[in-house]
Each structure stands twice: as structure tokens, then as C-alpha cells.
Subunit: 274 residues, 2 copies
């Protein structure tokens, strides 16, 4: 095994399920030479509705699987876990841990110029208050409107990405957010980049002008790439990095859903026990 | 503890989450004097997308919690578990185990007079082929059209029970089913009784005449009540039975969702570890 702090070591990424593959997709666009080990805790997905204690316990379990694989840093590719468990993971683990909330918050503050920011996420992410806290730390004057949007998760998993249903669902969730004055919308769940089009279309229709959509998956990948370079942890290789996928259960619809999120075929999947 | 085979012992009911509370609701309408112990495995919900091996393992864990509580019979209030794990539970457990598939299948065959039957369910229930098998055993000439309908589960949990979105979602799932000639629709998931109205309305609109909707939760409660009487296991009490609720994790939205499914307030909930 490569020493965990070596630039040649893989990057560890985990999520409660397959949604985090949108972060992997962004990472592979942004730092394509990095090897990535991904763990999707598909046996216990979704974390969103679970208690904070349970989420912390599950997140530690996932992180330990990745550290045993010799990763150089861990990307928590899950808004719910980033919202609830990031501090605890940083205390418990002896390597860099990066979440998706702060990059999303930073991109939102940069885009909003002080106007209200709407955040769509799971019930867990929204009720944790993590986005308001992160944004308040960056800009005290920015108002945040949080909106739990669980049906968008189901639409992304079902692959209903365009047409009337996603637009109506997006509109219903966005209506109070846009009415409250939001001019920037954060996709605060790793599933939502797949629904960016209907969300953007409905937000624009409701506001009467284009709103800025912040994709926390891309924002995170950009920050991870910069972090690796700053810390001297970026790989020196130039060929395309390897991707190793692990899941805790292989759901029936795995290949379709994973490929949809990842944007490339999801092959050679290892099923592990947690 | 009361002897497990005593009529005064409680009835055990379990589900992967809270959907099975629609079966509890039907049981409390149908045999109101029975004490009921309910276990919702909310820490590991949903079972629908999981592998058969995992579902069997989880179902055995839930059943053992109930047998330790001295139940006289177990009602598997989950279509996915009934589809995948019922035989194994009957082999492993030393008490009567009743599922939701056969009662739903029986009611569908009785209603259909040989015309095709459509079944809406989770991906797990539909791909298991359990409804076609059960219906074929009752009537070899009845054609079955299975339709996975995962978004209906999310709508029921989110409480979007009427209006445009549930109707559009129901229509999209029902369209191929009605086009294939189904004249009876089985609500093959314990969440779906909450969406009976939009499902019935869209089925009628698509078919151009009222279709018969079979609710597997009610059909199951009727069969359980008859079974208890036949076996001399019905309680002799006449006052309203007690309801004890257990969950493996208390989700944030527990009270709202549970009360919606149960049709009465969900109080005194015990959180257990599995």
C-alpha cells in the first residue's frame, strides 16, 4: 500500500449511496489523473432522514474503510454527512477531510453579491442549518432560504430528468424560495446536478429572469483540486486515473443509476460488508 | 410474558419503515381489540432496492425482535419482504407468518373475472415476480402487468397526496398498464393506499371507465382477522387493543409521516437497536 500522505495515493470519496458519483464525475473532469476509491453505502441509503447520531456512526464506518485502502484525503460527497458529521470525522481521522457544504457556500456567496440565497437539499441537510452557518461565516449579510426537496432525489434516481413532472416538482419547491427573494440557488444535494435543467428553467420562470445555479458537486471538485496542489498532494502522473467503486449492497438498478450519476459506465464494482 | 400461542398475546407487525402502518390502520379497523406490536426498520429503510439476500437477513432480524416480545403471529406488512423472504421466515420461525402478497392477489383475482391485472409496487416487489406467481397459483388464465412505481413511495412520504404532481406521476406509471388492458389495479405497496384517490382517478381517466382498485393493506387485514378466528387465536377482550410502536431510528419527520400512515397519532415510540 502507498503511504497515505503520498501524492500517488488515491483520493477517497464516500456517500450514503450513489449520488456522490456526481462529485466523482466532477473530480474526474477537474483532476483526471487522480486515482479515486469510491464507497457508496447503498445498504443503508438514504442517510437524509436518519438521526444525527446514526449519521455520524455510519460516516465513521465509511471513512475507516477508505483509510484502510490507503487514501491520501477523504471527500465527503454527501451533503447530509457534510452537514452533520464533518467535524467529528476531522477529529477522529488522521488525514484531510473535505466536505461539499463549504465549497457550495463559498460559490453561493461569490455569486449572490449579498442577495438572498436559496438552498435545495434533503430534510437532513436543511434542518442541520449547515448551509446558513457556512454562509454566515463567509458573509454575515447574506440571507439563506432553506428548502427540503426530497422528491428531487427520487426523480434523479428514477431517471425522470426532464418533462412535466420534474418541472412541476421543482416549481413547487422553488416557489417559496424565489418568492422570498432568492437570486442564487444552491443545489445542496449531490443528486441535483442531474436535474439542473428543470430547476434552472423553473427558477427563471418564477423569477422572471435567469437565476444563478450553484452546483455543490462542481464547486467541491474545484476546491479539492486546488487543495491537492496547495498541499503537494496532487499526483504527478499524467495518464487518466483509475476509479475503483465499492458499495455495501448492489441494488437491482445499480448499473443504470450509477452510470447516470457518474457519466461513464460503472464497472468492476466491489461489494463490501460494513 | 404471555405464551406466544395465547389469544391474549399481541400481534406482531413489521415493515422496512413506516408504510406498514397502513396495514396496522386496517387491522385496527378490522380487529380493533387486538394488541399490536409494530416494528419499523427505519434505520435501514427502504428495502425495495436491496438484494434478496440482504432483505432476508433484515427480515429475520425484525422477526426475532417481535418473537422476543411474545407475539402470537407475525404480519409482514411490507410487499418487498413478503415477495422475497416469506418462505424463509416460515421455515425459520415457529409461529404463523402472514404476508401482504397473497391477500392482495386473492382480492385481485376475485375482482378481475379473468381480465388482466395491473400491479404497482417497488422495484423489488415487481422484479421478484411474487404477484404473478401468487395470482397464477389462484387463476392460471389471469395476465399480470407489473409496474415499478418508486416515486409514489416518495410522494406518500412527502405527503403530496393530491393535486397535479401525484396525478401526473400516477398517470405515467398507469399508462402502459391500462394500455395493456388491465381492468384491476393492485396497490402492491403499503404506501399506496394514501394515494388511492389520484391513482383511481387517473386509472379511470385512462381507461375511460372506473377500474377496480385492490388495496393489499385492507385485503391483508381482512385475512389476518379471519385467520385469528379460525385458529382460535383472536383475543377475547372487547376494549380497544394497545398499539406499541418500535423503530430502529427515529427519523426527523417521524410524527407527521407515521400519523399520516396510521390515521391516528403515533405516540410512545420506542427506538431499538437492530
Amino acid at each position: 500500500m502507498t503511504a497515505p500522505s503520498a501524492p500517488s495515493a488515491p483520493l477517497g470519496v464516500f456517500d450514503s449511496g450513489l449520488g456522490g458519483l456526481t462529485v466523482v464525475r466532477a473530480l474526474r473532469a477537474c483532476c483526471p489523473a487522480e486515482d479515486i476509491v469510491y464507497l457508496g453505502d447503498t445498504a443503508r441509503v438514504p442517510y437524509g432522514p436518519r438521526s444525527p447520531e446514526t449519521i455520524v456512526r455510519y460516516a465513521l464506518g465509511c471513512s475507516r474503510v477508505l483509510t484502510r485502502r490507503g487514501v491520501k484525503a477523504i471527500v465527503v460527497a454527501c451533503n447530509t454527512v457534510s452537514a452533520v458529521a464533518l467535524d467529528m470525522l476531522r477529529i477522529e481521522l488522521d488525514l484531510p477531510v473535505l466536505g461539499v457544504i463549504l465549497p457550495g457556500a463559498r460559490a453561493a456567496v461569490a455569486a449572490s453579491s449579498g442577495a438572498p440565497v436559496g438552498v435545495l437539499g434533503t430534510a437532513g441537510t436543511i434542518s442541520s442549518g449547515a448551509y446558513p452557518r457556512a454562509i454566515a461565516a463567509l458573509s454575515t449579510r447574506t440571507e439563506i432560504i432553506g428548502q427540503p426537496a426530497p422528491l428531487l432525489v427520487s426523480l434523479a434516481e428514477e431517471g425522470w430528468l426532464d418533462g412535466e413532472v420534474p418541472r412541476l416538482v421543482a416549481r413547487r419547491y422553488l416557489e417559496p424560495v424565489v418568492q422570498a427573494g432568492a437570486r442564487t440557488i444552491v443545489l445542496g444535494c449531490t443528486h441535483f446536478p442531474l436535474l439542473r435543467e428543470p430547476i434552472e428553467a423553473e427558477a427563471t420562470a418564477l423569477a422572471g429572469r435567469p437565476l444563478t445555479i450553484v452546483d455543490s458537486a462542481s464547486a467541491t471538485a474545484d476546491e479539492v483540486a486546488a487543495f491537492l496542489v496547495e498541499r503537494g498532494l496532487a499526483t504527478a502522473r499524467s495518464e487518466r486515473g483509475k476509479l475503483h467503486l465499492m458499495v455495501t449492497d448492489r441494488p437491482r438498478s445499480f448499473s443504470d443509476v450509477a452510470a447516470r450519476f457518474l457519466g461513464e459506465p460503472a464497472e468492476d464494482v466491489e461489494v463490501i460488508d460494513l
